[in-house]
């Protein structure tokens, strides 16, 4: 792996590497509609451009997703955040963190980057109002280490930072 990937992260396992290479090939052949993978030499961090679906609140807007893969991908979920500026959405914090269960508790190794992307686009598309989560400011303030909010002990993402 390239040395540019964050030092704190461990390099991808062999199986993760193999799977990501195949996912990338599959993506190039058959990318999910509305998404564009930005080519880099870093297999462990993908940057993906998302185009808001036509006819939704986010049509004609484009955003960037950053997907970081853990060493044990796909047994562990990748960390997915929106790069600045994150779309205004009731489940997306201003620091780009996304409140979406499949990225945490409901992750399954049968999912792929492509299926994550489709889920995120679907989440965007179903939004009826452009606003931040209610606890945005508190969450962003308390979230120092820049990690996506992982649910712990089954509590909701929002209540985790209530204490």
């Amino acid at each position: 792996m390239t040395s540019s990937s964050a030092a704190s992260r461990k390099n991808l396992s062999k199986i993760a590497c193999n799977r990501l290479q195949k996912e990338l090939v599959e993506w190039q052949v058959n990318p999910p509609a509305g998404f564009k993978h930005k080519v880099t030499d870093n297999l462990q961090r993908w940057v993906i451009e998302v185009a808001g679906a036509p006819g939704t609140l986010y049509s004609n807007e484009t955003y960037q997703l950053q997907v970081d893969f853990p060493e044990n991908y796909p047994m562990e979920a990748p960390q997915v955040i929106f790069l600045h500026p994150a779309p205004l959405h009731p489940h997306i914090y201003s620091n780009g963190h996304i409140c979406l269960d499949i990225l945490y508790d409901s992750w399954s190794p049968a999912m792929t980057v492509s299926s994550i992307c489709i889920s995120i686009l679907s989440m965007l598309s179903s939004s009826t109002v452009k606003q931040r989560p209610e606890d945005n400011d508190r969450y962003v303030k308390n979230c120092r280490n820049g990690r996506s909010p992982r649910r712990q002990g089954g509590g909701s993402m929002m209540t985790k930072y209530d204490n």
Partner: protein, 429 residues
């Protein structure tokens, strides 16, 4: 039963009764695993291949290829033994969910190599998925078109309101709002003698290829486009105050221009540098345009009632859509010579395309992208679905000079094609 016998005969090499090191397995009961594999309750731990080969199955978790895989009891999805071991977390109190269908109490069974029937069933399912995807795509295209349709309808219904808003904005926007009105009138005057207009628009693309079966309805639409383009180009020569006063005082003023204003400066511009056939056609088209002017002005009585004709609005919408599909279909291959005729045409077209959007959303820059997208979509769907029954659509109007109409149609599309890129930059100055 036969399957079971087959399984018992299968002798698994000892080395495939252990994990091959795909993962760093912790807490794996090696003895139990070996037993399960030898009893054919789990697939042997064959090393996975990176490349596919005949009769290999891909594990959907590790994406490696194996001679045979386990199947989940709930949804019969495949999984290799080593990935399955990763799924089953021994110390977890929670029952493991199936990674594919999320059913609780995930469990797998091993049935050996896939039978022909299973493979057949899988192929059928794959086929169904593909078909469903195609249906979805079609539905999306259709929805897109309907949305576009509605937008245009709304904006044409609100033309007067929109125009009032536009007064305060730039000259360019005011022009575009004018072009929203005009095609409506022109078309409605023709529409008043035309019978049912409920049919979907014919495919302009398919139409151009067969010269003998040119659809008259199509020609009408294109003529309307041409006229409005010419008119729009003329407006650009007018002063700002002229345009805005037109905008406020409504369509009668705009119509007067058809009669009173002489051919604008752009008439001479058919001497395009790209020359040749296109020039000749464009010249013809202009001749046609002059004839068209008189016919429009003679139809003025009809157009005054356009607001009451539901058909006219519908027709206008179709006009808009046709134009959109035009631009996307035609601008792909052609370059952008700075041809004056083409410039005015594209300017006109651009404005017509955008008039409704600009006035409706007021985010003019963003809409440009959207409209192009829509154009692509609608052109695709139209050419896919709608080239049937063109001929049945041709009764209402018989133009006096058929050949010239055809030439006009070609000229418009040619010029539009060449003009698209330059037109875009021009309208956002």
């Amino acid at each position: 039963m036969g399957n079971k016998l087959g399984r018992k005969r299968q002798v698994v090499d000892e080395k495939y009764t252990r994990p091959q090191g795909l993962y760093n397995h912790k807490d794996v009961d090696q003895k139990k695993l070996r037993k399960l594999i030898l009893e054919s309750k789990l697939a042997p731990c064959y090393p996975g291949d990176e490349e596919t080969a005949y009769d290999r199955e891909e594990c959907p978790i590790c994406f490696l290829y194996y001679p045979s895989l386990n199947r989940s009891r709930c949804c019969t999805k495949s999984i290799c033994t080593e990935c399955f071991l990763q799924m089953k977390v021994p110390n977890s109190t929670r029952p493991t969910q199936c990674p594919f269908c999320k059913t609780a109490n995930y469990a797998v069974e091993y049935r050996g190599v896939k039978s022909k029937e299973e493979k057949g069933l899988e192929q059928i399912e794959e086929q169904r998925v593909i078909e469903a995807k195609i249906r979805m795509r079609k539905q999306e295209l259709q929805d897109e078109e309907e949305r576009m349709h509605k937008r245009l309808e709304i904006s044409s219904a609100n033309v007067n309101v929109a125009v009032a808003d536009v007064e305060y904005s730039s000259n360019a926007v005011a022009e575009s709002s004018m072009s929203v009105i005009e095609p409506d009138e022109i078309v409605s005057s023709q529409d008043s003698c035309a019978t049912p207009m409920v049919r979907p628009p014919p495919s302009t693309r398919a139409n151009r290829d067969d010269e003998f079966d040119v659809d008259l309805e199509d020609i009408m639409v294109m003529e309307a486009i041409w006229l409005s383009i010419q008119e729009n180009g003329r407006q650009r020569n007018a002063s700002f105050t002229d345009v805005t006063s037109d905008a406020t005082s409504g369509h009668y003023v705009a119509e007067d221009r058809y009669v009173s204003s002489p051919m604008g400066p752009q008439t001479g511009s058919s001497s395009s540098p790209s020359g040749g056939l296109a020039c000749a056609i464009a010249a013809l088209a202009e001749r046609q345009q002059m004839a068209g002017e008189s016919s429009v002005s003679s139809n003025n009585e009809n157009s005054s009632s356009f607001n009451m004709l539901p058909g006219s609005r519908r027709f206008y919408n179709r006009l808009g859509r046709d134009m959109v599909s035009y631009s996307s279909a035609e601008n792909l291959n052609e370059g952008a010579p700075d041809d004056d005729v083409a410039m005015t045409q594209s300017h006109g077209e651009w404005s017509i395309d955008h008039g409704p959007h600009v006035t409706e959303t007021a985010t003019s820059y963003a809409t440009s992208v959207e409209v192009e997208d829509r154009g692509e979509l609608s052109s695709v769907s139209q050419s896919n679905d709608l080239d049937g029954n063109l001929q049945s659509a041709t009764d209402p109007i018989i133009p006096e000079s058929y050949e010239e109409q055809m030439m006009l149609a070609m000229a418009v599309s040619l010029a539009e094609a060449r003009a698209m890129p330059s037109g875009q930059s021009a309208s956002w100055q």
